[in-house]
Symmetry: C2
Subunit: 742 residues, 2 copies
């Protein structure tokens, strides 16, 4: 408490240039070119006021004041508490406006009724950032939400960044700042892992894990209700923060998924973003929305977002920190080939099982390497991968074997497993592994089994920044996720190509000008034309005779489909007749459609029929667009029939699609071999299918008024023959009537 107490006597001066840049938006931009929020007042303040500071132990106001001083904040702490001369031996002020000199950051812990006036006082004082700990806003209902919005508006009007309300506070371990403005009992060790949590409770747990596992933290922000500063703002800030190498997120909702997608995609190319996104189940969503008032997240959209951006999604907070322990210091592996080194068979098998399950490769070792290992390992050792040195392995054996495996061109990473036998000293084994790893640019990850051996061995490993886990499976899972992340980093994202016959402006015009609801048959045809998507051809007939004539002209067999502006699900009313082989068939089909409608009392709905040549051969596919109220448009692809409906073999992407994304999407369904010449069938025109996906994706991205689109079936013909959209349904909604969730 000495340094900070001394520092506390000198006032901090905010940089007026930085403040004005933040206010006018002329400041730095994030990796997507959007102006970056200046969070320096929150994360690098030079003076802090605690409004609602207290002497009474066990209150939040007391805990925060105590933490600020105890952890040695490098500027003055100003307690604000009416009618108190001092708080925790520091001169107290009755009002933030009475504080002499500038205040960068105000921590607000007053009763909810007082928050608004306190924030207004901060604005008047010229405070640059506010963290509102107080709860009772959005999470309590519509009234609280309105009050929260007012708070955010006041802050925005005065250029103050606002974290919270309803949060645990913020931390930075930056040695020039050292801020612990939380009421959590733990201050984390300093390091390069930035942490943001949407749950205060999990924030407390996360600070504990960081301390327990000795994972160094750069900054920590409990985001609370995210009235102003969002996860996106934090990602953009940490993207440029030289102290931060890894970004960890616990999220219950995405504020702005579109911005998250573009931002995370750019940032993840250079800095890993690891996230737990909870609320993935239907019921969990309910709980999430009751908790934070956020809209329900669609799990499918989140998965697409993850695939798209290259963020590392994990399932649990435990896995979040497992990942951080690795990424904080180890290089990302350049491939999936892993060498496993062990002094006991069982753990080696467990690691190998897990490696195969997680998509890592455990290749045979080259003969030259096996020969070198054989020079010092006993005859009973197993030299295939995993290398089992058996229980007699010495620290020196670990060092030599690790060095040799790291030097092997056919391995991208090494996992070292150690079970302490009675003789070998875990600490010495730790030193040996660290020594071997020191010279390598490949990752080394370890597992010291048996808890009694862990602490001793870990100390050495931690000093060398080699992560160690209690179970082989955890080590493997971490490495597999890092390898997948590395592939994403290296992957060419592709480009959205310019396609011939794609008139996006015309397509959007058709949607914009269409009435609300399902698009009529003719309009659908025009839309597909504008997109450069081929239908089966054919034309509309207004009578049975016209239909027969058209059919003869097209050539048999043909298909008849009801034309009606008022009926969209044609097959549900018996409005589709296929495989009509002659004129008699056509006359009969017309009559059946008419009779079916008449039976429903909808005879007048029949405006005619579409006569199309019957497409035969090829593989049936489905291409769809839906629009989630939170996540925006999603493009779906699957094979037709039972593949999508029964077997759920369908995949999603966020449009627009690059050439690369389209190619991946087609190949990502389990049924893809059916398109690829399965059992001697001709290969389908996958290139044309990819083009169709890109065309539909371009429209979905460009035209928010398109809320639903189904091309079903799309027939993928053999190579060179293209694809045919046999049937299409399109639904339009205009902004005045917000789109329903689909």
């Amino acid at each position: 408490m000495t340094d900070s107490a001394k520092a506390g006597t000198t006032g901090a001066v905010a940089d007026p240039a930085a403040a004005s840049a933040s206010a006018t938006g002329d400041g730095p931009t994030d990796p997507t070119g959007t102006p970056r929020r200046d969070l320096s007042a929150i994360l690098r303040p030079r003076s802090v006021a605690v409004i609602g500071a207290s002497d009474r132990a066990g209150t939040i106001g007391a805990e925060i004041t105590r933490n600020l001083v105890l952890q040695g904040f490098r500027g003055p702490v100003f307690p604000v508490r009416p009618n108190s001369r001092s708080v925790q031996s520091i001169l107290a002020y009755g009002d933030v406006r009475e504080i002499p000199g500038p205040v960068d950051l105000a921590i607000v812990v007053v009763r909810k009724e007082l928050v608004r006036s306190v924030v207004e006082a901060c604005a008047e004082k010229g405070v640059r950032g506010v963290v509102v700990i107080t709860a009772g806003f959005k999470e309590t209902g519509p009234e609280g939400l309105a009050e929260e919005r007012e708070l955010a508006a006041i802050c925005r009007a005065h250029g103050m960044a606002l974290v919270g309300p309803n949060c645990l506070g913020v931390v930075t371990t930056d040695p020039d700042t050292r801020l612990d403005a939380t009421f959590a009992p733990t201050f984390p060790p300093a390091g390069n892992v930035a942490v943001a949590s949407q749950s205060g409770a999990l924030g407390v747990a996360m600070l504990d894990y960081a301390r327990e596992l000795n994972i160094g933290v750069s900054d920590f922000v409990s985001m609370g209700n995210k009235a102003d500063v969002s996860g996106n703002d934090l990602i953009a800030w940490w993207a440029d923060d030289p102290r931060t190498r890894v970004i960890l997120l616990y999220l219950e909702s995405f504020g702005n998924p579109q911005r998250f997608a573009s931002l995370a995609r750019e940032v993840a190319r250079h800095k890993p973003i690891v996230a737990v996104k909870s609320g993935r189940s239907r019921r969990g969503n309910l709980a999430a929305s009751s908790h934070t008032g956020s809209l329900a997240g669609a799990e499918v959209a989140v998965e697409a977002l993850v695939e798209e951006t290259g963020i590392i999604r994990v399932d649990t907070v435990e896995e979040l920190f497992d990942m951080a322990a690795f990424l904080a210091h180890q290089p990302v592996p350049r491939g999936r080939r892993v060498g496993i080194l062990t002094n006991a068979g069982g753990p080696g098998i467990l690691a190998t099982d897990a490696a195969e399950a997680w998509g890592l490769q455990v290749p045979d070792l080259p003969d030259s390497l096996r020969r070198e290992l054989a020079t010092f390992l006993p005859a009973a050792a197993s030299l295939r991968n995993p290398v089992d040195m058996i229980a007699s392995a010495t620290p020196d054996d670990f060092r030599r074997a690790t060095t040799l495996m790291l030097g092997c061109d056919e391995l991208d990473a090494v996992i070292v497993l150690f079970v302490p036998p009675i003789i070998t000293n875990p600490a010495e084994v730790g030193e040996a592994i660290a020594a071997a790893a020191a010279g390598s640019d490949k990752p080394v990850i370890s597992c010291f089994m048996g808890r009694h051996g862990v602490p001793e061995g870990l100390t050495t490993l931690q000093a060398a920044h080699i992560p160690s886990y209690a179970f082989p499976e955890s080590a493997v899972r971490v490495l597999a996720r890092a390898a997948r992340y590395g592939e994403h980093q290296r992957r060419d994202p592709g480009t959205v190509p310019d396609l011939p016959d794609l008139d996006l402006a015309a397509a959007c015009r058709i949607i914009d000008q269409a009435p609300e609801g399902w698009l009529g048959t003719a309009r659908v045809g025009e839309l597909l034309d504008a997109l450069g998507i081929h239908g089966p051809g054919g034309g509309v007939a207004r009578s049975a005779g016209e239909a027969a004539e058209l059919a003869r002209a097209l050539g048999f067999p043909v298909v008849l489909k009801l034309v009606s502006d008022t009926i969209s699900h044609k097959s549900d009313v018996g409005g589709v007749k296929v495989d009509l082989r002659n004129e008699t068939d056509v006359f009969e089909a017309w009559e059946q459609i008419r009779a079916a409608l008449a039976e429903r009392g909808r005879a007048e709905a029949m405006q005619g029929v579409l006569v199309q040549p019957m497409v035969s051969g090829g593989v049936e596919c489905l291409v769809g667009v839906s629009r989630d109220p939170v996540y925006g448009p999603l493009l779906a692809f699957g094979l037709g029939g039972v593949h999508v409906e029964l077997l759920k073999d369908v995949r999603f992407r966020i449009p627009p699609l690059t050439d690369r994304a389209a190619a991946e999407l087609v190949r990502s369904v389990a049924g893809f071999p059916l398109l690829d010449g399965y059992r001697g069938a001709p290969k389908a025109d996958v290139a044309a299918l990819e083009q169709l996906l890109i065309r539909v994706g371009a429209l979905a991205a460009a035209c928010p008024e398109l809320v639903e689109m189904d091309l079903n079936p799309v027939i993928a013909l053999p190579v060179g023959k293209g694809v045919v959209a046999v049937d299409a349904r399109v639904r339009v909604a205009h902004p005045a009537s917000p789109p329903r969730a689909t």
Copy 2:
């Protein structure tokens, strides 16, 4: 060391009656009626010799002697070491035969070269059980395997039970025995969890985890190479052991899977068996077999075994102990409906997500319960499930809410999540939960988030035997597995019904009398007849004219299939022609088959054709039998075509099938709705399909010489019309030539 040292001066007397019962096999039986191995010499010895005992710290002989004395073995310990007056201050003997009085158990830690003579000396002395720690046997190759078999033969000839070789030793916490005959550094707390490990290294780790997590162990056995005492012997012993409530296994191989299946099925109905079976990946199998010399385990067979027996299979050693912590004291839940109680939103969401992912239900709470909760919880609390009492929840709130939720008829279990806020005392919350749980017969499971809060809270919970986990997901996973186990316990296993037209003796006779290899067409027909399985009918024609005549008699369309004793894959040689609509088609088809064979130079292989009516409509299925060299016969079921080949939608069972198992098998494939009237199609005759599975299963179980059988396709016709096995292939192998792996 006081008690045991004193006890060490009195000799132990083995019970001659028990010994003779064991030798003659007149003793107790296991739950399947097989004589149960008497393991009392291993796990309840009254005197122990350590052959190879040592004074030199760090040697195995010293560690074991020390552990025996330190942990207070309740009988005399006799060190055996030539030319030493004493070992660790205990009178030493030069040879086991020199020890005065009976020796129940000998621990052998001598050099490998001496093991055989030492074991012979033990036999001569009348020792009843031997644990061979020494390594260098089966795991080193064929020579070691031969030596190991000799050891086992010596032991068997003298009625000595043998554990090992190549193992860590054995432990019992029985207060009348207190045996620590291992060189592991940790003695576990006493309790009701029995542990067997096939890996010594993981055994060390497991004893550590037990101590660390305070999970009480009854007995621990490191099985090593399992030359004599197997996992099955241990399961049978623990099934009758009143001190054991839960059985934990770490397995790399099943010695005798058939016995394991019948034994585990019986035992698991009363005592949970939790197992990690490693070596599940192809590569992991390689490592497992290099390690223990065991045969590769077929993952598919293991899955079927697990499904069949109701053992709880977990993925990691961590999960093994997570399960044990629950099962050791909590009741198995009576259903899947779980109430979640929390004082923080985030963990509640995580738990809910995990619950849905693991197949638990998180139902809405009844209004009456919500009203009762509302009487003492604040307005901001969320009363739907999860119940979020928010951070202000007091210990008394935890007690009242837990009590109310446990009392709710619509919940089967309660998960309590606690994040320590600054004011509430975790220990008091622990006491409150324990108090609420005390009066209930439903399970309570908890998660105290944030490591700093855990130890304090845990002490209280541990005293009350309420398991607590560091992460909500772990608690959910444990509860979900327990619920599934409960369902298995309660499930009616069904019976293998007597079916009409099933002449198993005749079917087996056909197989027994058949020559090695693929069964000829006529024989296959007879076999199906004996099983009461309908083929499509039809007959064999020796000429094109005969074929046409037969076809006319059967009615068109028909199918022609090559008849040949030398060609089994008829379709591969163009030997199958379908949808022949008239006599001309039949003549042409005959000619095409003939020409295709001639082209291959195999014209003489054509003995005629099978002419069958073409079966139309119905749903194509596949029924198969394969025989794994280790696991024995497996029955496979799936839908035809891409469902099995591409989408891997196929499931396996171990024959014979009960009516219940057949019904489950049909319904376990993802494509089942296609049999159940999908999209208005007629429902298939599922009852007939189940009968067919039972018939095939009966043959597979009764007739080991049937090594492969494929009914593909089996057409399931609409309800009441039965099923037709359109094509069948059967392969026979006689014992002289062991069946190949299929």
